[in-house]
Symmetry: C2
Subunit: 641 residues, 2 copies
C-alpha cells in the first residue's frame, strides 16, 4: 500500500514538473521492485525479508563497532603514512586524505585491493606490514565472521520460531477438525471410517485408492472401523510423507510380444543390462568421451567419434527402457533417468540440426554449436551418480535447490533496486566500443575522465549501467567483490566522488547481509541433512507396509537396485507362481530422502520435541510468537509449506 | 619420534652426499615444524590438529566433487572459447590450453581474477556472462559454503566429544577421590569437614581462608560437619568458579591522612569523579582528541594540545586512584583500567622521550614517533566501553582471544612448513631494489623473466622468499587470497610452471581448511556466548553469598558502578556505624562473564545435560570415545582445561 501511494505521489510530482519543463528523477522506480515481493508467489521471499528485518538491529551494532575500528585504523594510517610522501604503483599520492584512506581500508576489508594497498608502505619499511596484518585479522577475519555469526544466529532463531508456529497451528487445526467430525463410540470420541475416507478424498484428491487404504490401516491400526483422536491428529503428517505406489506391472512388451520378450536371448540381454558391469562399462565410455571432447575436433576421426558416442548413449537408454518397466523408469523420483534422457535427446537434436545446417549452408551455427558443446559436457555429470559418497553430497545439493530459488528472488529484488538507482546515476556515462572501433576515446570507454584509470586499463568498458541486463551483470561482479573498487573509482571519476557510496551501500546490503544469509542457509540445510533420522510417523508407515507384505525390502535401495528388485519380485511371481501374498500386484515405498525440502525436515525436527498430548498454546499465543506472520488457510497447505 | 628418525636419516644422507660433493636438498627441514607441536605448551594445537585429521576424509569427498565440477567447467570453457582467437587485456591468448583454463577457473573460485577472466568472452558476446555466473554460483558460493559446513560440522562434533570426555573424566575422578576419603556417618558415607578442608588446601593452595569457608558452607549446607557424596562431586566446579573476594578496605589515604581525605573538599571531589558526568566528560574529551589527531600537527597549537590531552588523561587516572581503592582499581578483572593506565603511561614515556631527542638531536626518532601515533589512537578505543551494546560484543571478542592464540599456533606451524618449502623453491629468484636503484632489471625484480608481468607491474618485488620474515608476509598475503594468481604466475615465470602447484596447495590447506576452522571457531564461540545462562552451581554460590549477607547487590554491575557500590557500603559502615552484619569486612562477587573461556562454557553446557547421579561410562568407555585423547592428571587441571 505504502509503495502504491509513493508511486502515485511520484507520478503526480513528475507530471507537474514535466508541465513546467523540469526533468526530475522518477525516484519511485526504486520502490517498484517491492511489488515483486507482494504480488508474486513469494511467501518464501517475504519470510526471508522478515528474517532480514529482524536481524537488522543486532547487525547494526556490530556494524557500528566495525566502522569504529575502521575509522581508528584509518586515523592510525594517516598518522603513520600520511607524511612519508609515498606513492602508489600508479604514481598517485599514498594515504594523504582521510576519507580516501577510509575508502581504501574499507576495500581492504573486502580484500579486493590486497596487497597493492600495502606495497608502498611495505617497500618503505617491512615493519609497516604489521599494521596491515593487524588490520586484516581484526576487520576481515574477525568482524566478517562476526557478521556471519550474527546473521546465522538470527536466521536460525527466526526460522525456528516460524517453524514452531506452523507446527502448533497444524496441531491446533487438526484438533479443531477432529472436534467437528467426532462421534461417540463407547467411551471414546472418534471419527468413523466413512467420514475419515471422505475427508481424505476431499483434502488429497490425487492419492490412489490403495494409498488411502494404507493410510487408513495405519490410523486405524486394529481395524475397529474408526480413528481415535491421537491417530487423527497425525493425518496431516501421514499425507505429507510421499509414499510411492509401485505397481508391479509386467513390461508392456511382455504383454504384447510375450514370446520374443521371454526368449532366452531377450532374458540374457536383460540380465546383462541389469548387471553391475553394465554401469561400469558406461562409466568407462563416459571417461573416454571426456578425453575425446578435450581433443581437437578438427580431425575427422574425432568428429565421427561424437556420432559413435551419441549412438552408444541412445542405445543405453533404449536398453534400459527395454529392460525396466518404462513407467517406473520415468517415475517422478527418478531424477537421473530424466536428466540422462533429456540431455541425450537434446544433444542428438542439436547435433543433427547442426550437421544439417553445415551440409546446407557450409557454416556452423554458433549458437547451436555452443549448445551442443555444453550438452556434450553435461552428459559427463552422470558419472557422479555412480559413486555412493558423491551421491550423498549431490542429494544435499538437490535438496537445497528449491529454497535456493528463494534467494534467487531475494537477490532479484535487491538487484532491481540497485539497478534502477545505478541507471539513474550512471546511465550513458560509460560506453562500450568494439576492439576495432575508431570512435574518439574508444580506449577510455568514450569518456576522457577515465584516461589512465584502472577501469579503462582493465578493459571494463562493457561493465556499465546503460541497460538492465548490463546493470545486472555489473551487480553480479560487485557481489563477487573482487575489483569492485576499480568499478567504484571508475564510476566516481565519470560522475562525482560521492558516487562511491552507491558501491559501498551495495556491498553492505548484498555481501554483508544477503550473501551471509545465503551461507547461513546452506550451513543450516547441510546440518539438517546430517542430523536426519526417520520420524516416528514414517517408521509407522513403513512397518505397516512391511506387515501387509507389500514392501520393498530396503527403502534406501539405489534406483537401479530398486528396479532390479522389482523385476526379481516379478520373476518370482512368474517362476514360483506367487507364493508370497501380493494381493494387488503393487508395492509401496517411501520416497527417498533426496526429494524432501529443508523446511519440511526442520518442521519434523521441531515436532519431535512436542509431546503428542500437547495441544500447543492458544491461538493468540501462537500468533504472538511473532506478530507479522501469515496464517495459512488449511491444515494441508500448512504442512506442505 | 617419526620426525626425529626422518631428521636423522636426512642428516646422514646429506652428510654422505656432501662428502661426494653433491648438493642435496635438506628435505627434513619440512618436518621440523612438527617439533613445535610436540614440544611446546601446545595441547590446544594438538587438539586442533586432531580435529583437522578427523575432518579430512569428509572434506576429501567434497573436494573431489568440487574438482570434478571445476574440470567439467574447464572443459566447457575450452570448447566454448578456445577457438574464438580471443585475447586477454594483456594481449595474451585467452582460454586455449586446458591446464591453464583449469588454473584460471580455480583462481576464479577464489574470486581473485574476477571480472578480468570474464571480460574477453563478455566483450565477444554478452551471453557468455551466463557461463561465468553459473560457474561462480556453483563453485564459489555453493562449494565454498559446503566446505565451511563440513568443517564446522566436524569441528562441533569433535569438540563436543572432547568436552564430553573431559566432563566424564572429571566426574569419575571426583567419585574415586570420594571413595578414598569417605567415612561412615550414621547411614551415609561422607567426607568430614577436617579432611575436606585439608583436601581443598592441597588442591587449591592459593584461595583465601574466607573463600574456602564460603565453599564449605555451600557444600555442607546444613552445617552438619561433613560433606555428602553429591556435594563432594561438585567440588571441582565450585573451585572452578572465580569468586572475587573484595576486601572492604578503606582507602590508604583515609588511613594515612584521615583528616584531609575526609574533608568536605575531598568528599566533593570524590563525588564528582563517581558521577556519571565524569565519564561523559572524558568521552567528550576523547572525541575532541580524535579530531585533533586527524588535523595536521605541524601547527604549534596542535602539538601543544597533545600535551594538554596527555595531562588530562593522567589527571583522570590519578583522580580515579584517589577516589577508588587502588588495589580494587587494579584488580585482576579490571581489564579497561589496566588498558588505560598502560596506554597512557606508555604514551607519556614515548612523548617525553621523543621531545628530549628532538631538543638534543633536532630530529624526531621515526620509530618512537610511530609508537606515539599508535598509542595516541589506541587511547580512543576506550570510548567503546562506555556503550552497553558495544561492551557485549567486545566481551565476546575478548573471550575469544585465548583460543585464537591456538589458531595463531596452528597458522604458525603451517606457515613454517610452507615457508621452508617456499625458500627451497624460490630463494633468491626475486630481488627487491629501492626505487632509485640503478641495478640491471631493477624494475623486473632483478629477473628478466618478469618483464611485462603483472607481478613486476604491481611492484611486488619485495614479496619474495629470500628470508623467513619475507616468506611469512607473502604467505599472509596468500591467505588473504586477493592477487594470489599474480604471485603464482610471477614465481612460476622465474622457476617452472608446476611451481603454481605450491600456491594451489597453500590455498587448499590454509584457506579451505584452516581459515574455515577459524571461522567455525568464531561462530561457535559466538553462539555459546549467546546461549549462555548461569549454571546451577554458580547460582548456589551466589545464593549462599547473599544468605551470608556478604554479597554485592547485583553481580552484573559495571566496573565503575561496582566500585561505587563498594564505596557506598563503606560509607554506610562509616556513617551509620555498621548496621548491616559485615563480620569480616569483605564481600564476595562472582567474576563477570567476560573472563571465561569458550571451552569452560562448552563444558558447563554439556554437564548440564548429565544428571548428577550418573557416574558416567567406565574408564575404558571414556577413553574409547576417541582413542587418541590425552588424559589430564588431576581433577582440578581437568576442569580448568
Amino acid at each position: 500500500m505504502v509503495a502504491i501511494l509513493l508511486s502515485l505521489t511520484d507520478l503526480a510530482i513528475y507530471g507537474v514538473l514535466r508541465v513546467y519543463g523540469v526533468r526530475s528523477i522518477r525516484w519511485s522506480r526504486i520502490v517498484r521492485p517491492i511489488f515483486l515481493i507482494n504480488f508474486a508467489e513469494s511467501r518464501q521471499i517475504r519470510r526471508a525479508f522478515r528474517s532480514i528485518r529482524n536481524t537488522l538491529p543486532e547487525i547494526t551494532y556490530v556494524f557500528l563497532l566495525f566502522m569504529f575500528s575502521l575509522l581508528m585504523f584509518s586515523l592510525m594510517a594517516l598518522k603513520l603514512f600520511g607524511e612519508r610522501n609515498l606513492q602508489t604503483a600508479e604514481g598517485l599520492p599514498y594515504f594523504r586524505n582521510y576519507l580516501e584512506i577510509v575508502f581504501d581500508l574499507y576495500v581492504l576489508v573486502t580484500t579486493a585491493n590486497s596487497p597493492d594497498v600495502m606495497m608502498p608502505a611495505f617497500d618503505f619499511s617491512s615493519w609497516y606490514a604489521l599494521f596491515f596484518i593487524a588490520f586484516v585479522i581484526v576487520n576481515t577475519y574477525i568482524f566478517m565472521s562476526l557478521f556471519l555469526a550474527v546473521v546465522y544466529n538470527n536466521y536460525k532463531k527466526h526460522l525456528k520460531n516460524e517453524i514452531r508456529k506452523l507446527a502448533y497451528m497444524k496441531r491446533r487445526k487438526m484438533i479443531e477438525a477432529f472436534n467437528l467430525l467426532k462421534e461417540e463410540e463407547g467411551e471414546q470420541l472418534v471419527v468413523r471410517e466413512a467420514r475419515w475416507k471422505q475427508l481424505v478424498k476431499l483434502v488429497a484428491p490425487d492419492i490412489s485408492n490403495s494409498h488411502r487404504e494404507l493410510l487408513l490401516r495405519i490410523s486405524d491400526n486394529e481395524q475397529k472401523g474408526f480413528v481415535d483422536k491421537k491417530s487423527f491428529v497425525q493425518l496431516a503428517d501421514l499425507l505429507n510423507i510421499q509414499v510411492v505406489t509401485l505397481k508391479l506391472r509386467s513390461h508392456p512388451l511382455a504383454r504384447w510380444v510375450p514370446r520374443v520378450y521371454g526368449s532366452a536371448a531377450s532374458r540374457l540381454l536383460r540380465g546383462l543390462v541389469r548387471h553391475r558391469a553394465f554401469v561400469w562399462t558406461y562409466d568407462a565410455i563416459i571417461l573416454i568421451n571426456a578425453i575425446f571432447i578435450a581433443l581437437d575436433e578438427e580431425t575427422p576421426y574425432i568428429s565421427y567419434a561424437e556420432w559413435v558416442f551419441l549412438a552408444l548413449y541412445v542405445t543405453e537408454i533404449l536398453l534400459k527402457v527395454y529392460t525396466y518397466e518404462p513407467r517406473a523408469f520415468f517415475g517422478k523420483t527418478q531424477f537421473w533417468n530424466w536428466f540422462d534422457t533429456l540431455i541425450i535427446f537434446a544433444a542428438l537434436t542439436a547435433t543433427i540440426l547442426n550437421a544439417t545446417l553445415k551440409s546446407t549452408t557450409k557454416y556452423n551455427s554458433q549458437q547451436i554449436l555452443d549448445i551442443v558443446f555444453i550438452l556434450r559436457v553435461l552428459r559427463l555429470i552422470r558419472i557422479v551418480d555412480s559413486i555412493q559418497r558423491f551421491r550423498v553430497i549431490m542429494n544435499t545439493l538437490i535438496n537445497i535447490v528449491p529454497t535456493m530459488l528463494t534467494f534467487g528472488g531475494l537477490t532479484l529484488v535487491v538487484y532491481c533496486v540497485f539497478a534502477i538507482i545505478g541507471m539513474e546515476l550512471f546511465h550513458g556515462k560509460i560506453q562500450f566500443f568494439p576492439a576495432d572501433s575508431n570512435a574518439p576515446h574508444a580506449l577510455e570507454c568514450g569518456n576522457p575522465a577515465l584516461k589512465d584509470s584502472l577501469f579503462a586499463r582493465g578493459k571494463y568498458c562493457k561493465n556499465n549501467f546503460n541497460d538492465f541486463a548490463s546493470s545486472f551483470i555489473v551487480l553480479m561482479e560487485l557481489t563477487v567483490v573482487n575489483q569492485w573498487h576499480v568499478f567504484a573509482n571508475g564510476f566516481a571519476n565519470v560522475t562525482v566522488q560521492p558516487a562511491k557510496l552507491y558501491f559501498i551501500a551495495f556491498h553492505i546490503v548484498m555481501v554483508i547481509i544477503i550473501v551471509n544469509i545465503f551461507v547461513s542457509f546452506i550451513l543450516e540445510a547441510f546440518f539438517v541433512e546430517y542430523s536426519l533420522e526417520k520420524s516416528e510417523v514414517e517408521t509407522a508407515i513403513e512397518q505397516k507396509i512391511q506387515e501387509l507384505g507389500m514392501g520393498v525390502q530396503e527403502d534406501e535401495l539405489q534406483d537401479e537396485q530398486l528396479l532390479d528388485n522389482m523385476e526379481s519380485d516379478e520373476h518370482e511371481l512368474e517362476g514360483e507362481g506367487g507364493t508370497k501374498p501380493q494381493p494387488k500386484g503393487l508395492v509401496f515405498k517411501i520416497a527417498s530422502k533426496r526429494y524432501r525440502t529443508v523446511d519440511a525436515l526442520l518442521q519434523r525436527m521441531f515436532e519431535a520435541e512436542i509431546p503428542l498430548e500437547d495441544e500447543g498454546p492458544s491461538l493468540e499465543e501462537i500468533l504472538n510468537l511473532s506478530p507479522s506472520a501469515a496464517i495459512p488457510r488449511n491444515p494441508n497447505s500448512e504442512s506442505v509449506a
